[in-house]
């Protein structure tokens, strides 16, 4: 019997709101207002362990390796998984639908999707991209032609076969989608070679192509939907995939249920079914878990994670921390004065006292400081000249600027949640110590997105940048992309282009080191640290960290707030 603590509204709970509402990831990773995280897909090429494919390279970075704590899992060989039971999962919001080529998904949508759909590729325990529905994904030497060979005898829940034509139709639906066509912008042609082989021709080298097939925030290309579902105008309301669970019922804002796919190509999952319950209020979600109404939920609130760590010690709950998701940032519009001057940007970064921020967020020991888009545990991390905390130097830079140009005054935009406003006030007070005046602007998320898209901002709390494979940041850093900061550099453009074309991770890392070095010097962003999600499970929920790949090896079970449930079971 689980004894749970009295739920209390804590200041830290609102950190989840900060991570979701305030950081506006929707602008970059889809447009779901509740979107919270990103992708941590890493690595390049892929060939299944047993295949004889010739990939451009077979080494991949470990990148941000997941950190697993000690929830009860099947790792203990004495524990034998049992079948049965329905798992109730609390998700943070509702999705507009479940068509992967059209509907933008936050963590909530991805978690439902991972039960119903399978991706063509997935990340292994080290973050390396490996084939999943595909048997192999092979590129030619210059990564302009990719060949996907599918595993045989896989069928969708409606009986349609997963074949090369089905994959082609999925990719075509993406190319026809206003929301996601940019995800396959380099795809120039598709040829069905045989029933299980699809050849893709790229308009230019694309060494990181397999990354987009893993099904991550902002890139849902990899999830394979049944052709009949894609052809139906409202197919997203009755999703059909090849996944471990079959869609059963969806009452929007109430529940979505799936049942066990007894014919699943990897063997039927343990659970009889799963009920996903959208509970948008973070306090209510926690209360629902504490009250035993849901078995699983995920949170970005450091204080909640810390609280549950204590309960985990007593065996009351399980806490599993996944790979860190993309960091939170303060983003500058470098085309707008006074942020067009690097001295001001460096000074503002220098004056941010990160330990003080974490103390305020109750995130000490959970969030990790960063000096660039990739955490120092990431394969892609490179040291840079990103400024350290130095109030004296920061004050000197501001004084210098003010003597030459004038006062440092700017608008600092964020969300409307009171906690986010108080978080902004903390920055405001730190900046005032060096003589910079920040005027806090609180706006609805949609207004902030519009402001950023239309260049009508100076400084803003933002997210959706960094954390995973650097190629995912192409549109942020490249001058030809969205580039919200307006900070452009020919060297960065060249490095991002080269990194995209190359296959060898070490060679790519060299290119991305150039990017990080320049970003560290020029400071278009203040990096406020990793964004860590914890998956909280009831004591009888097992196997949340036991996601296995088709070859039986360990996969990356949790990526940000997204997780697979095919290997989860309930301890009776």
């Amino acid at each position: 019997m689980v004894t749970r603590s009295h739920p209390s509204r804590r200041r830290g709970i609102a950190v989840a709101l900060l991570a979701s509402a305030g950081l506006l990831l929707a602008a970059c990773g889809g447009n779901d207002p509740s979107a919270t995280t990103e992708d941590t897909a890493t690595a390049t090429t892929v060939a299944d362990a047993g295949s004889d494919t010739t990939a451009p390279a077979d080494t991949t970075p470990a990148s941000t390796a997941p950190v697993f704590t000690n929830p009860p899992t099947t790792v203990n060989e004495e524990i034998v998984p049992v079948s049965g039971g329905t798992l109730v999962v609390g998700i943070e919001g509702e999705s507009s639908g479940y068509n992967p080529t059209v509907d933008p998904w936050s963590n909530a949508g991805h978690n439902v999707a991972k039960a119903i759909f399978d991706p063509l590729a997935a990340a292994d325990a080290e973050g390396k991209v490996v084939p999943y529905l595909a048997e192999s994904i092979t590129g030619n030497d210059d990564a302009t032609v990719w060949t996907i060979v599918l595993r045989p005898d896989i069928v969708f829940h409606n009986g349609e076969p997963l074949n090369a034509e089905a994959v082609r139709l999925n990719f075509q639906a993406v190319l026809d989608s206003a929301q996601y066509k940019d995800q396959l912008s380099l795809l120039a042609g598709m040829t069905v070679v045989d029933d299980l082989t699809l050849e893709l021709t790229m308009s230019s080298p694309w060494g990181t192509f397999p990354n987009v097939l893993t099904g991550v925030i902002g890139s849902q290309v990899g999830y394979m939907a049944a052709p009949a579902m894609l052809a139906s105008p409202d197919g997203g309301r009755s999703p059909i995939g090849t996944g471990p669970f079959v869609f059963s019922e969806w009452i929007p804002d109430d529940h979505l249920t799936v049942t066990r796919n007894d014919d699943y190509w990897q063997g039927a999952p343990y659970l009889d079914g799963i009920e996903f319950r959208p509970i948008s209020d973070s306090t209510a979600r926690k209360a629902a878990f504490d009250g035993g109404d849901i078995d699983v939920y995920y949170t970005g609130s450091s204080s909640e994670i810390t609280e549950y760590f204590v309960q985990q010690e007593a065996g009351e709950v399980g806490v599993t921390i996944g790979a860190p998701s993309e960091p939170d940032v303060v983003m500058f519009n470098t085309a707008a004065a006074p942020l067009d001057d690097v001295r001001v940007r460096r000074a503002l970064a220098m004056s941010v006292d990160i330990p003080r921020l974490y103390d305020y967020l109750e995130a000490t020991g959970v969030k990790q400081p960063m000096t660039g888009p990739y955490a120092d545990t990431s394969f892609w991390f490179t040291e840079s000249d990103y400024p350290d905390y130095d109030l004296a130097e920061a004050t000197a830079l501001i004084d210098e600027y003010e003597a030459e140009v004038g006062p440092v005054v700017f608008d600092f935009a964020g969300g409307q949640d009171p906690f986010i406003v108080s978080y902004q006030e903390l920055f405001q007070s730190m900046w005032s110590e060096i003589g910079a005046e920040a005027n806090i602007v609180s706006r609805a998320q949609s207004e902030n997105i519009d402001a950023v898209v239309n260049d009508a901002f100076q400084v803003i709390l933002w997210g959706g940048i960094g954390g995973g494979d650097p190629d995912a940041d192409y549109t942020q850093f490249h001058s030809g992309g969205l580039n919200f900061t307006n900070f452009t550099s020919p060297e960065i453009d060249a490095a991002m282009d080269a990194g995209r074309a190359l296959s060898d991770p070490e060679a790519r890392k060299e290119q991305y080191a150039i990017v990080q070095t320049i970003l560290g010097e020029q400071v278009p962003y203040i990096w406020t640290g990793t964004n860590q999600f914890g998956v909280i499970t009831a004591a009888d929920v097992r196997g949340i960290a036991d996601f296995t790949l088709p070859d039986g090896s360990a996969g990356q079970p949790i990526d940000g707030g997204r997780f697979y449930l095919k290997d989860v079971w309930l301890d009776a």
Binding site: G30, N31, P33, G97, D254, A288, D290, R443, I449
Partner: protein, 318 residues
């Protein structure tokens, strides 16, 4: 009666046109681009332009409104461009939740408010009256969010008497249905309790001072009989009016309560539509809510006539 009904219907039609047109205009004034909200910031300008054309967003507002209204009078409230679900179907899934929530809340509010008002009015200024007034003030002053979270923490999490979140349809289990709506209904009702009790108490105090009450007392009627048979009815007009008006407030309150208790109701649907610039869904919700509000107030007017014969006689044509 036919004339009265015709007059009411005409008024309802006018209100509907005014409210739906106003909401149409307000949606277009909302900051944030509808197409960007649907397609995302990464969509190309060409795709955005195509979507605008498809959604007729480039048409003048009155033209769009007339097109929408033409479909609406034929029972077609449109299809949400975000979820691709017919709005009528979406509203049908949610309306009963909100309807039940509002009805149970009103019931709870009246059940609590009437005795509080009577006990307070019987001894105005007494310690009991002061305690009741203080309680009502606290009810008014406590934010609905705190009440909802507090009720959830105590009765659902600590005591485990109720589910924290979720909804069970009445047809599935009447008991579970009531259980799933009781805490949210109480959270929604508390503010109304205070309002109703204060208005009714004041009216009762005035009524108790009227000649016919003194006459009833002189005849030896018991206090109970005087209150229930003579004073309550004429004193209820204010509360009945307030009940009608407060339905609108309650519908606003359902947004918060439905969000906290994760109920699939119309309030949550409406706020989602606003957040996602889903004006088709929003229009549908506005129509339904407006019709509901006007109907409730129509019923309140009818109740006035029942409660006070003078109003009935005034309405009768001479």
């Amino acid at each position: 009666m036919t004339r009265v009904l015709a007059s009411r219907l005409a008024r309802l039609l006018a209100v509907l046109i005014a409210v739906t047109f106003a909401s149409f205009s307000m949606v277009s004034l909302l900051p944030g681009d509808t197409v960007t909200a649907v397609l995302g910031a990464r969509a190309s300008e060409e795709d955005k332009a195509a979507a605008r054309e498809e959604l007729h967003l480039d048409d003048p507002l009155p033209v769009r409104y007339v097109q929408w209204a033409g479909d609406a009078v034929q029972g077609d409230l449109g299809t949400s461009f975000r979820t691709r679900q017919p709005v009528t179907e979406a509203i049908g899934q949610r309306i009963w939740v909100t309807l039940e929530l509002v009805l149970i809340s009103q019931l709870i509010a009246l059940l609590l408010a009437v005795p509080m008002a009577i006990f307070g009015a019987l001894r105005p200024g007494s310690w009991l009256d002061r305690i009741l007034s203080g309680t009502q003030l606290a009810m008014l002053a406590t934010p609905g969010y705190l009440v909802a979270v507090g009720l959830m923490a105590i009765f659902a999490v600590q005591l485990g008497w109720f589910d924290t979140t979720g909804y069970t349809p009445f047809g599935e289990s009447p008991f579970e249905n009531l259980k799933s709506l009781l805490l949210p209904s109480i959270a929604l009702a508390l503010e109304q309790v205070a309002l109703y009790a204060r208005v009714l108490r004041t009216d009762l105090v005035n009524t108790f001072d009227m000649d016919f009450i003194w006459f009833a007392r002189a005849k030896g009627n018991t206090t109970r009989r005087i209150v229930l048979r003579h004073a309550l009815r004429p004193s209820s007009i204010g509360v009945v009016t307030l009940t009608g008006i407060s339905v609108g407030r309650m519908i606003g309150g359902t947004v918060l309560v439905e969000t906290i208790f994760a109920l699939p109701g119309l309030g949550r649907f409406t706020i989602d539509a606003i957040n996602n610039r889903d004006f088709v869904s929003l229009q549908g919700a506005v129509v339904v809510l407006t019709v509901g509000f006007v109907l409730v107030n129509f019923l309140a007017d009818v109740m006035h006539g029942i409660l006070d014969p003078r109003i009935r006689h005034q309405a009768r044509p001479t």
